[in-house]
Amino acid sequence: MEKTQSHYNRIAAIFFLAVGVFFALYARTVEIGSWNEPGPGFLPFWAGVVLAAMAVALLLGSFARKAWPLRPSFFPQAGSWKRVLATFLALIAYNLFLPYFGFTVTTFLFLIFLVRFIFPQNWMRTLLVSVLGAAAARLLFINFLETQLPKGFLGF
C-alpha cells in the first residue's frame, strides 16, 4: 500500500511525544527550580513539555483531511533493507570486536564483509581491497598518526 506523508508524521509524532514525556519526567529527578531561580532541571523539563505539545500538534494535524502527498515506498528497492541492516550490523560488530581482535584484524574483516556482501564484488577484488585497505589504514593511523588503537589479544 502506498503511504502518504500523514502516516510518516503520525509515527514520528508518537516517537517525539514519548521522548518529550520521558525528558519531562526525568527532569523532575533533578531540581527544576522556579522562574526566579531556575535549576538544572528547568530547561529539560520545559523543553520536554514543549516537545510533547508539538508532537501532539503534529499528531492531530496528521488526521487532517487534505491531499497528503504520496511518498515513495520506504525502501527504493526490494533488497535495500538487507543492505541497510547489514551495514548497521557491521558498524555495531566493529564496535564490539575492536577491543578483542585489535584494529588491524577487525578492520580487515569489516572491509571484507562490506565489499563482498553489500554490493557484491568478486573474491579477488574483495581480498585485494581489504588487504591493501587494512594495511594502509594501519600504516596511516598507527604508524604515522600514532593513534592509540586497541591491539587485541593477537598483539597487533
Binding site: 535549576g39 538544572p40 529539560p44 541497510v84 565489499v115 554490493f119 589504514a137 588503537l149
Partner: protein, 505 residues
C-alpha cells in the same frame, strides 16, 4: 590600527610553513569531499577536527575553513561532469552545467565555475574584512538577554528558511536542546540524564553526533540502491572561457557574489539558497530566459559565484557574535571552544591573529583552489571513477576511527552509530538535520544566557522585552513565527518551497 596593519598581521600568521601546509590540506580535502557524492563538508570537517588538537587554533581554523569553501569548488565538478551534485549547493549547477558538458563545452563550464568561485570568494572576503570588525564593536554592548534573544531569532530564521514543515523543524530544534542538556550542569554541577555513564557527563559529544547524522546516515542512505554514474569523458581542453563567455558571465558573477554574501550572513543553508536565488534572478533578467536549462554559461557562473560568496558571509556571525548559522560553522564554533577560545565579539580584538590569519588564508586558499581545480581537473575525474562499492566502507572506517580517536571511547562510537540510525530514519520521515545540530551546539549557551537573564531580572521574563535590542530580536522572531499563518505570506512560502523541491528532483 588601519586595515593594512591588520593585513600585514594576517600575512605574518599565514606565511609559516605549517599554516601554509594546513591551508593546502584543507582546500585539498575540501575539493575531495566536494567531488565525492555522499560525503559533504560537514562530515569532513568533523572528521578532521580531532587531527587538529595538537596544532594551534589558528592553524586548525585555517584548515577547517579551507575544507568548507574548498567543497564548494569540488561540488561543481561533479555537477557538470556527472550530473550528480557533490553537495547540495551545486544542485542548480547541474541544470546548465551538465547540458554544457553534453554540448561539448565541459571545459568552459568548469573554467567559469572556478573563476566565478574565485572572484566571489574574493568579494566575500573583502566584505568580511569590512563588515565584521564594526559589527563586533556593536555586539560588545550585548548582555545575556540580548544573546538569548539573538540566538532564538537566529534559530527561527534557520527554521523559517528550512525547506520542510516549520513544526517539524521546531521539533528537531527542541529535541536538540534536550540532548544538549545531557551532562553536567554548568551552573550547579548536577549530573543530568547521564544514566550513570561517565562519557555522558561532558554532554553528548558534537563530533559523534555530526559524524552519525552526516557521515554514517548519508552512507547508509546511499547503500540503499546502486548509483550508476557515467563520467563524461570528452577531452577536457580549452578550460579557459573565451571572450564571449566572459562577457556573458561578468555581471552574473558580480550579482551572485553580492547576493551570496548577504544571504550568507543569515542563518540557514545559505550556499543552497543563494545558488537557487541567483539562478532565478539571472533567468528573470536575462534577454533569453527560454535558453536557461539548455546549457547557458550564465546559469553556471551566477549560482557558482553565489554559493562561494555565501561561505564567506557565513563567517561574519561566527567572528562577531559567536553564533553559528549552519552546521559547518557550528563545528567551527565547537573547534573554537575545544581550543579554549571564548566565542563572541571579543574574538577579533582579543585574537586578532586568529581572525586576520583566517581571512588571509582564505585569499590564498582561493588561489590554491584555482590551481587545484583547473590544471588538475583530470585528477578529480579519476577520483570520480572510484566505484562507490569500494569507496563507502572506507568512509565508514574513517568515521569509526575519527570518533574513537577523540577520547578512545567505544561508548562515543556507539553514540555515533545511534545518531546514524536516528539520522537515517529522520531523513526518511522528512525531518531536517540543521536545527538539531545547531541546538546541540548553542543549547548550553542558550541555557546559560536564559538562566543568567532570569537571575539578573530576579525571575521576570519581561527582561527580554525591557532591553530594547533584545525586544527588537523577539519582535522579529514573533513576526516570523506568525507569518506562515497569514494566508498570503504562508501561500507564497509554500509555493517557493514547492518550486525548490521540484528543481531538486
Amino acid at each position: 590600527m588601519d586595515i593594512f596593519t591588520h593585513i600585514a598581521l594576517g600575512a605574518q600568521v599565514l606565511f609559516t610553513p605549517l599554516n601554509l601546509f594546513f591551508c593546502f590540506v584543507g582546500v585539498l580535502m575540501g575539493t575531495l569531499v566536494g567531488v565525492l557524492p555522499g560525503l559533504g563538508p560537514t562530515a569532513a570537517i568533523a572528521l578532521l577536527l580531532p587531527n587538529t588538537f595538537h596544532v594551534s587554533p589558528v592553524t586548525a581554523i585555517i584548515m577547517l575553513a579551507g575544507i568548507y569553501y574548498g567543497a564548494m569548488y569540488g561540488g561543481s565538478t561533479t555537477s557538470i561532469l556527472v550530473n550528480i551534485p557533490g553537495e547540495a549547493a551545486s544542485v542548480i549547477t547541474c541544470l546548465d552545467g551538465y547540458k554544457m558538458a553534453l554540448n561539448g563545452r565541459a571545459g568552459p563550464a568548469l573554467g567559469i565555475a572556478a573563476f566565478g568561485s574565485f572572484i566571489a570568494g574574493t568579494v566575500s572576503i573583502i566584505g568580511l574584512m569590512l563588515v565584521a570588525p564594526p559589527l563586533a564593536k556593536f555586539a560588545l554592548a550585548f548582555g545575556p538577554p540580548e544573546y538569548f534573544s539573538l540566538m532564538l531569532l537566529g534559530i527561527i530564521i534557520l527554521i523559517y528558511l528550512a525547506s520542510g514543515s516549520i513544526l517539524k523543524a521546531l521539533m528537531m530544534f527542541v529535541f536538540g536542546l534536550l540532548l544538549s542538556t545531557i551532562g553536567m550542569d554548568a551552573i550547579s554541577g548536577t549530573q543530568r540524564l547521564t544514566f550513570g555513564l561517565l562519557e555522558l557527563s561532558d554532554g553528548v559529544g558534537l563530533i559523534p553526533a555530526i559524524m552519525g547524522l552526516f557521515g554514517v546516515a548519508e552512507v547508509i542512505a546511499n547503500v540503499e540502491e546502486e548509483i550508476k554514474r557515467t563520467v563524461i569523458s570528452t577531452k577536457l581542453k580549452n578550460l579557459l572561457p573565451n571572450l564571449q563567455d566572459w562577457r556573458d558571465s561578468f555581471w552574473p558573477i558580480l550579482r551572485g557574489s553580492v547576493l551570496g554574501f548577504f544571504i550568507g550572513i543569515l542563518p540557514g543553508p545559505a550556499p543552497v539558497i543563494s545558488a537557487f536565488s541567483s539562478y532565478a534572478i539571472e533567468k528573470k533578467i536575462s534577454k533569453h530566459p527560454e535558453k536557461f536549462g539548455t546549457g547557458v554559461i550564465e546559469g553556471v557562473a551566477g549560482p557558482e559565484a553565489a554559493n562561494n560568496a555565501a561561505t564567506g558571509g557565513a563567517f561574519i556571525p561566527l567572528f562577531t557574535l559567536g553564533i553559528p548559522v549552519n552546521s559547518v560553522i557550528a563545528i567551527l564554533l565547537g573547534a573554537f571552544m575545544i581550543h579554549g577560545i571564548q566565542p563572541g565579539p571579543m574574538i577579533i580584538t582579543k585574537h586578532a591573529d586568529l581572525f586576520w590569519g583566517t581571512v588571509m588564508s582564505m585569499y590564498l586558499g582561493n588561489a590554491m583552489l584555482l590551481v587545484l581545480n583547473l590544471p588538475l581537473i583530470g585528477l578529480w575525474v579519476q577520483v570520480l571513477k572510484v566505484p562507490y562499492p569500494i569507496l563507502f566502507p572506507f568512509i565508514l572506517l574513517f568515521c569509526l576511527i575519527g570518533v574513537y580517536s577523540l577520547n578512545y571511547s567505544l561508548v562515543e562510537v556507539a553514540l555515533m552509530i545511534g545518531f546514524g540510525i536516528f539520522g537515517y530514519l529522520a531523513r526518511k520521515f522528512q525531518f531536517e538535520m540543521a536545527p538539531l545540530v545547531l541546538a546541540i551546539v548553542i543549547g548550553p549557551m542558550m541555557e546559560n544566557n536564559l538562566r543568567l537573564s532570569l537571575v539578573i531580572s530576579q525571575g521576570s521574563p519581561m527582561i527580554f522585552l525591557e532591553h530594547p535590542i533584545s525586544a527588537v530580536f523577539i519582535f522579529i522572531t514573533l513576526i516570523l513565527l506568525i507569518s506562515p499563518f497569514v494566508p498570503w505570506i504562508g501561500r507564497r512560502r509554500q509555493k517557493l518551497q514547492e518550486k525548490v523541491e521540484r528543481e531538486k528532483v
